[in-house]
Symmetry: C2
Subunit: 217 residues, 2 copies
DNA sequence: AAACATTTTTAGTCTTGGCTAAACATTAAG
DNA sequence: CTTAATGTTTAGCCAAGACTAAAAATGTTT
């Protein structure tokens, strides 16, 4: 497995969550900032290795084997993110690029020892679930904050967008994983939300609210 | 800096310690298990980037810039080895291949935070010195056990050869970094040594003794 | 000092992963 | 149901890094 093949598998895995048909070469190229023609080539190589199912013009899906490898890459990525935040004091907006490199380190022993060292965490610093060594994911029931009704109380459990600007915005508003949030009011005009976050009043736009995962308290 | 360029710099750095003239393409090719012609190509590329001084047919030496980059790679390699042994319970014969991968992770912040997390170690698990963030190395005065006179007492501070078979042999004889060693006798015939290692009698061949670094107690 | 052996470089080739431009499918619209 | 628009693949090309075989430089010997 080359570096590049691993990246393709990871991207296909992530795209599989939003779309439930075959993933188009175009979609992959967009995410990878490359060209559809390059994707076609690589996808054919992955199909030869039986990591993806590929029908011309119909898109790509992961095979069992490909799914497992993708899960192991995601596992490594998220474990390293936990390591960076918990042990090395990185903030949650700084970890992505480094984890993007660390996820390619090949050593099953390292991955499993790291998992143990971290106390077998089930979620990364953004609230995303961490597959265990057999690829199993503990699914948590979570909703977008934007779907929560007025006067309901919830706890912040994850972010949908984990780009640095969004995460830094949340830091500024003192919204973090574990924060308790009450929806005080919803504005009809722009769908913005008035919240009480850990006792403080905060107003957020609908765009913010639809990128925050919460669970009923 | 590509992965491959980094490996060349590292190899040239290591070879510079034993030979103090220019390093030949042949020597590099041997260590890298590649061919001299491939080395010539790469070395010319490194010279274009001013990371090495290169005169045709005369061999290669590191420039200031190249030396610093090499030191940073060695620094990362050795810090990760400490991490693997101290935090993840790897044994000293298992760390090399994984550290070989980890040394290429690009993030100054990661390296320095890791250094801090480990308590700014000055040596790796094999007793090799770890360059600090400015590339400085604390030099320790050490001799080969084979050069020590009879009835002298020393402490084991490093290994010259850190291949798994040698390290595993030392484990079996319960010789480790920090072990106190007294040279009880030296055999004229085969230059083998009778030792007292932490109170136990052990006999080792000259080959073993000339791969163990010790310092006077 | 010339001839031979060794080392090093050059020239040309291969593979991987990417690109552009052109050809080919599919879908949507008239 | 045919054409236009869009999406996808093919064909041909490029750069990096490695290789083989051949040419050139260095060194070693007599």
């Amino acid at each position: 497995m080359t570096y590049s093949e691993e990246n393709y598998l990871k991207v296909i895995y992530h795209l599989s969550h939003t779309a439930n048909k075959g993933i188009s070469t175009n979609a992959i190229a967009n995410v990878m900032e490359s060209k559809p023609s390059s994707v076609t080539d690589m996808v054919q190589k992955l199909a030869d290795k039986e990591l993806v199912e590929y029908v011309k013009y119909q898109g790509v899906t992961l095979t069992q084997k490909g799914m497992f490898m993708a899960l192991m890459i995601v596992r490594k990525h998220r474990l390293w993110e936990v390591f960076l935040v918990e042990k090395l004091d990185f903030s949650w907006d700084e970890v992505h690029d480094v984890a993007e490199q660390l996820e390619h380190i090949k050593s099953e022993k390292l991955t499993n020892k790291l998992d143990e060292f971290l106390g077998f965490p089930t979620e990364d610093p953004h609230g995303d679930p961490i597959p265990d060594k057999d690829g199993r994911i503990a699914s948590i029931d979570k909703k977008l904050l934007s779907e929560i009704g007025v006067s309901k109380k919830v706890i912040c459990v994850g972010v949908k967008d984990s780009s640095p600007p969004f995460l830094q915005y949340l830091d500024k508003q003192q919204i973090a994983l574990g924060s308790s949030i009450e929806v005080v009011a919803k504005e009809d005009f722009d769908h913005s939300l008035s919240l009480r976050v850990d006792g403080k009043n905060v107003t957020v736009s609908n765009k913010i609210a639809s990128n925050l995962f919460v669970k009923p308290v």
